[in-house]
């Protein structure tokens, strides 16, 4: 009897979280992306995600258009065949993914505690906790996370949490034939990325720069960051991502002020009415 009660009590005990590991992330070097989309297919295959339907967009070779609850890697194609005099034509390709922000708005917005940072420092959706409220969808400035029509819950890149737990490379990075997608300890990746930019500048490719490798005054660093060759907007990335949480203090103060003002106003009205 006592045993049984003890077992009941277990339900209320929080399990010990896994010990924190070295923070892991992605560095996506778009200069070596060949646009093969192996990352998209490897991601869907490993994570058993459905197709998003067959829609020919005519937007270069991009027919999956955007990240969604069921598309966690997406390769953007930008044709720049008519450039300024002297500049050779180019076709930019970039494999987009969840940014795994160091301070993730989706995680801040989640009311259920479904969105957490796992032991690898990755933003992770615990599917069984998610109630499908969609706050995270509105909060993400990159349009990464989405709800799946099938179960109504939010889904996004897990950075192959299950593979990482077994010491394996995420499916997309594993499938990438040219190491455009690199996976590793985030501190090391930032080193590699900086050296790569320097190397490219040395070769005269001065338009190469890192997106999200460092925090800005408005936004945290990204644990999945990119090397780009043109303005972020060209790749459909926000020039200056916003964290909705940054406005909370002002918004709370404003609504507090408004409520006081309304209280005073109504008190005055009722007094008049008496």
């Amino acid at each position: 009897m006592i045993d049984q009660l003890g077992k009941l009590a277990d339900v209320w005990k929080l399990p010990e979280p896994p010990a924190a590991q070295e923070e892991m992330g992605f560095f996506t070097d778009t200069t070596v992306c060949i646009g093969c989309k192996a990352c998209e297919v490897a991601c869907k295959q490993w994570n058993q995600l459905p197709s998003d339907g067959f829609k020919w967009t005519g937007h270069s070779y991009d027919n999956t258009s955007a990240l969604s609850g069921t598309t966690w890697r997406h390769v953007a194609f930008v044709e720049q065949m008519d450039r300024d005099a002297g500049a050779p034509p180019r076709w930019l390709m970039m494999s987009d993914v969840c940014k795994h922000c160091v301070e993730a708005p989706c995680q801040e917005a989640c009311p259920t505690g479904s969105l957490i940072y796992n032991e690898f420092g990755n933003v992770y959706v615990q599917e069984e906790v998610c109630n499908g409220c969609g706050y995270c969808v509105a909060a993400c400035p990159f349009g990464v996370i989405g709800r799946d029509k099938e179960d109504g819950r939010a889904h996004k890149c897990t950075l192959c949490y299950d593979r990482q737990k077994d010491g394996m490379t995420p499916a997309c990075a594993k499938a990438c034939p040219t190491e455009s997608i690199q996976f590793g300890p985030i501190s090391q990746l930032r080193e590699t990325a900086r050296a790569r930019v320097e190397q490219l500048h040395g070769r005269g490719e001065t338009d190469a720069y890192l997106y999200g490798a460092e925090p800005t005054t408005e936004y945290s660093a990204l644990n999945a960051f990119f090397l780009l060759k043109d303005a972020p907007g060209v790749y459909n990335l926000p020039e200056a991502p916003q964290r909705p949480g940054a406005h909370l203090r002002t918004n709370y103060l404003l609504s507090f002020g408004a409520s006081i003002a309304l209280t005073v106003a109504s008190a005055l009205i009722f007094r008049k009415g008496r």
């Binding site: 998209e40 197709s51 020919w56 044709e79 034509p89 180019r90 034939p177």
Partner: protein, 891 residues
């Protein structure tokens, strides 16, 4: 690939993809490597990261072009003009690698005075017979000086130039006469100079549509990056082969690489990128009608092949490695007929069927369309959508009595009787179709031979579902039933089947990768097949260690001599080896490459005539004086203890006739052939001919197209005459990364369909504006074979060219769609023409003419796609320990 075989000795990629990382310049032409071979493309990307130039010459700007340091747009079908221009540039600017060329090529060899160059005869070589439209049998007139009038190895036009015997050529006087001072007017180098003298940068620009400046930049890049210290590589694929001049295009690349001294050297060579997973394997152990395994010629009633003796005498080349040919042939007969093959019955040679005509795929399709073929087997082949002239192929299938289709899905070639652009009435079609479900590669074990001649074993991970079975299972049990059916027959024609060794039964239950026992008990033992291919000693059934163990007396059996060594002992399958060799990028213990695990062919040429590396930077295989042996990073493609100073005695035969400074050991003179006195059916030197369908008059010769082209002019296969004003636009077809060929393996997969869901055609904004076609709208492409509709991809990646002073438009047509699958669309091959290269019967799907207009086809009733596969079940991923899935390495 006689283009490579005739130039160097073996018709296969000369190097391996990993070696491309050490190139200083890579010319990718006739290949869209980034899209069609994305995994191998990592090596050109690595080379580029190390500072190499990456040049892409192609009609359309693809993902390969986007990765290149230089892209040059050219008109499809003009590759020989471009390469001929490069050859001319190298010769006129004296940029050829003198020491290499003089020692390792036939540059100094003197050609017979009967030879008349196409250059002096309006584009036709001597010996042309207008009534037979062939050069037979006057080939002797292309021969070296001092050779007899008739060439022994020349085969009639019905037999294609695939066997080693024909490719290698027969030379009676070895060594042939030479002039090392290169003064003789008929020495090969001087013939070459004259032949290409008119291929100037301006002419190249006028023919191909590129600018002379772009061409010169390519020429300079190649010259700067060739020589002792540097090497350049050439990569090609079906963008070169699928032309009526395909073999000669590859020959032109061979000439260029020999002149630049890039053959047999690291970072050099010619990388043939093959179109299917194991297409190299299916020519090595051929599905071709005119070859026996290992490039032995198929006996033919058109030649003196009445007995084994006359066959061996006819096909035997006394000088060089092919002098061993009788050993390979007799060992093959022993492997096939076992104890029934005896010296007294010619080892069963008489049981092999003779060929009496052209039975290549195209010729067979034409015959089938005429109702002359009763039954047909399709193993992973989809002619209804994937073969040139789809409508003709579907009409041909409708005339069969029976058809067996083994595939994963009900593909176009299995549903042609009820669906398709012709909307056939099933009641009118007599073909009985047997659709048999096939196992996929992870569901069966066996070997792939990849594009670099590398045999890699793959395991059977799981059992196939339901009634799906491997192709081996099907063929094995079919053979058993046929043998039972014919048992007891005394007819001579049945003895081959009855005496065939046919016992690959498993010795016990098969254990799958996860430790479970397979439910399929009658799957043949694939290892037994590979062991027979490797070869064994008949007396004690022990495995031979390689082809040098084979004998011509019936004491050895070998299913395919070039693969010998892959299974040297019962417990060692080298194709399954997966050992890395740290510090050696050649990785000789990963899989097994033919021949004899040599990863780079002709690698003797990586050392100078004295056996020393040409430079420290480019060392690969060299002569170790102290140990009196060749050594290096790879298995030497040379007799290991033959000193560089060795010179053959007069009258020497076999390998003894190959000097220590002659790297091309298959060739009777040991040299790389700049000029091919034999081995091709359309001339000793590559010459620019227009595609059979072309809106341009040949600017170089009065001869418009290849004079000996194989033509099939029938009502279903109408060809537009040259310069037909009704079809002024040039079209080419190609693949996208997202799909595979005509789609049987990709259009039933929703993960791939969502990436490229619809048929489209790529056209330039200029052409679109001219025809009122809008981006994303519909267009119709039409020519004499048919009309197709597709979405219009209007893109600057396609551009109009200026050819011979006129604006010329090109369109690009991906050929992945058909009427069966989760996504359906028009069949690009309904526009392509059946017309063929005379050497190999390869079609010309990469260059034809058409016209385009905005809109859709009248009364188009598109086929219905099959239902999309159900959503994947979201089970938890299996817990897989790291040790079970070792991480591969990139560098």
């Amino acid at each position: 690939m006689p283009g490579l075989g005739t130039s160097f000795g073996r018709g296969a990629a000369t190097g391996f993809q990993q070696d491309l990382q050490h190139s200083d310049c890579i010319l990718i032409m006739g290949s869209n490597m980034a899209e069609a071979h994305p995994v191998g493309f990592r090596f050109p990307m690595l080379a580029k990261e190390r500072g190499a130039k990456l040049i892409h010459v192609d009609p359309h700007f693809s993902r390969t072009s986007a990765m290149s340091t230089q892209y040059v747009a050219v008109r499809t079908g003009t590759d020989i003009a471009f390469l001929g221009g490069l050859i001319n540039y190298v010769l006129t600017h004296d940029r050829w690698f003198r020491d290499y060329v003089l020692a390792y090529t036939n540059a100094a060899t003197i050609v017979a005075d009967t030879f008349v160059d196409a250059e002096d005869n309006d584009g036709v070589f001597n010996g042309f017979h207008p009534d037979t439209k062939s050069y037979e049998p006057g080939l002797a007139a292309w021969n070296y000086a001092g050779e007899p009038e008739t060439s022994k190895t020349h085969t009639p036009k019905e037999v294609k130039a695939e066997s080693f015997s024909e490719r290698l050529g027969f030379i009676e006087n070895v060594p042939p006469p030479t002039d090392p001072t290169l003064q003789h007017p008929r020495c090969v180098l001087n013939i070459l100079r004259r032949h290409y003298a008119r291929y100037t940068p301006e002419m190249v620009a006028s023919v191909t549509g590129c600018s002379a400046a772009d061409f010169l930049q390519v020429a300079e890049s190649l010259c700067e990056n060739s020589g002792r210290e540097r090497t350049s590589a050439i990569v090609y694929a079906v963008g070169w082969t699928q032309h009526t001049t395909g073999v000669q295009t590859i020959r032109a690349a061979g000439i260029l690489q020999l002149l630049l001294g890039n053959m047999g050297r690291p970072g050099g060579g010619i990388m043939a990128m093959r179109g299917h997973a194991s297409i190299q394997g299916s020519t090595d152990i051929p599905t071709l009608y005119d070859l026996l395994p290992g490039y032995l010629p198929q006996p033919s009633s058109l030649r003196n092949h009445t007995s084994l003796h006359s066959y061996l005498d006819q096909e035997h080349v006394p000088h060089g490695y092919w002098s061993n040919f009788p050993k390979f042939m007799i060992s093959l007969l022993k492997a096939w007929y076992g104890d029934a093959a005896t010296k007294d019955n010619d080892f069963g040679f008489g049981w092999i069927p003779r060929i009496d005509d052209n039975y290549s795929q195209l010729a067979t399709a034409m015959r089938m369309a005429d109702g002359k073929v009763k039954g047909f087997f399709l193993f992973g082949q989809n002619p209804a959508a994937g073969a040139p002239n789809g409508a003709l192929n579907r009409a041909a299938l409708r005339r069969l009595d029976w058809l067996v289709v083994r595939d994963w899905f009900e593909i176009e070639s299995a549903s042609f009787w009820k669906d398709g652009p012709e909307h056939p009435d099933p009641a009118t079609i007599g073909t009985e179709v047997f659709f048999m479900p096939a196992a996929s590669s992870p569901e069966k074990e066996g070997c792939f031979t990849n594009t670099q001649r590398l045999l890699q074993w793959h395991d059977r991970a799981v059992d196939p579902q339901g009634d799906c079975r491997s192709d081996l299972w099907f063929v094995y049990h079919l053979g058993k039933r046929l043998k039972a059916l014919y048992a007891g027959s005394t007819e001579t024609r049945d003895q081959g089947l009855l005496n065939l060794t046919w016992n690959y039964d498993p010795d016990g239950p098969f254990v799958l990768a996860d430790g479970q026992t397979s439910r399929i008990t009658d799957e043949p033992d694939t290892r037994k097949v590979l062991m027979e291919i490797n070869g064994y000693r008949v007396a004690d059934r022990t495995q031979v260690s390689g082809f040098s163990d084979l004998e011509a007396d019936g004491s050895t059996a070998c299913g395919c001599w070039i693969y010998s060594g892959v299974f040297p002992s019962v417990d060692h399958n080298r194709a399954a080896d997966r050992r890395r060799t740290p510090g050696n990028y050649v990785d000789p213990n990963w899989g097994f490459a033919w021949p004899h695990n040599r990863r780079m062919l002709y690698n003797r040429a990586s050392a100078d005539p004295d056996g020393r590396p040409w430079s420290d930077r480019k060392k690969y295989v060299w002569w170790d004086e102290a140990r009196s042996t060749w050594t290096g990073f790879d298995e030497p493609d040379f007799e290991p203890d033959k000193a560089p100073t060795y010179r053959p005695a007069k009258g020497a035969h076999g390998m003894a006739s190959i000097a220590g400074n002659s790297p091309f050991i298959m060739k009777p003179d040991g040299k790389g052939w700049l000029y091919a006195p034999a081995g091709t059916k359309d001339g000793p030197l590559p010459t620019h001919y227009e595609p059979v369908e072309s809106p341009v008059a040949n600017p170089l010769y009065r001869q418009q197209a290849n004079p000996v082209v194989e033509r099939y002019d029938t009502a279903l296969n109408e060809c537009a005459p040259p310069l037909d004003p009704a079809y002024p636009i040039v079209a080419t077809t190609y693949r996208l990364t997202e799909h595979y060929l005509s789609g049987p393996m990709s259009r039933f997969n929703s993960w791939l369909n969502e990436l490229q869901p619809e048929m489209f055609v790529e056209i330039s904004p200029e052409l679109a504006a001219d025809r009122g076609i809008v981006h994303g709208g519909w267009l119709v492409v039409v020519n004499r074979r048919g009309a197709i509709e597709a979405r219009a991809m209007v893109t600057r990646r396609m551009r109009p060219l200026t050819v011979a002073g006129r604006t010329l438009h090109q369109i690009g047509i991906p050929f992945h769609w058909g009427f069966a699958g989760e996504t359906v669309g028009s069949i690009a091959n309904d526009l392509t023409l059946i017309v063929a290269d005379p050497n190999v019967s390869m079609h010309e799907a990469k260059a034809f003419t058409c016209n385009v207009r905005a809109g859709r086809l009248p009364a188009s009733a598109p086929s219905q796609p099959v239902a999309v596969a159900p959503r994947p079940t979201r089970e938890r991923a299996p817990e897989t320990p790291e040790s079970d899935q070792p991480e591969g390495q990139f560098r």
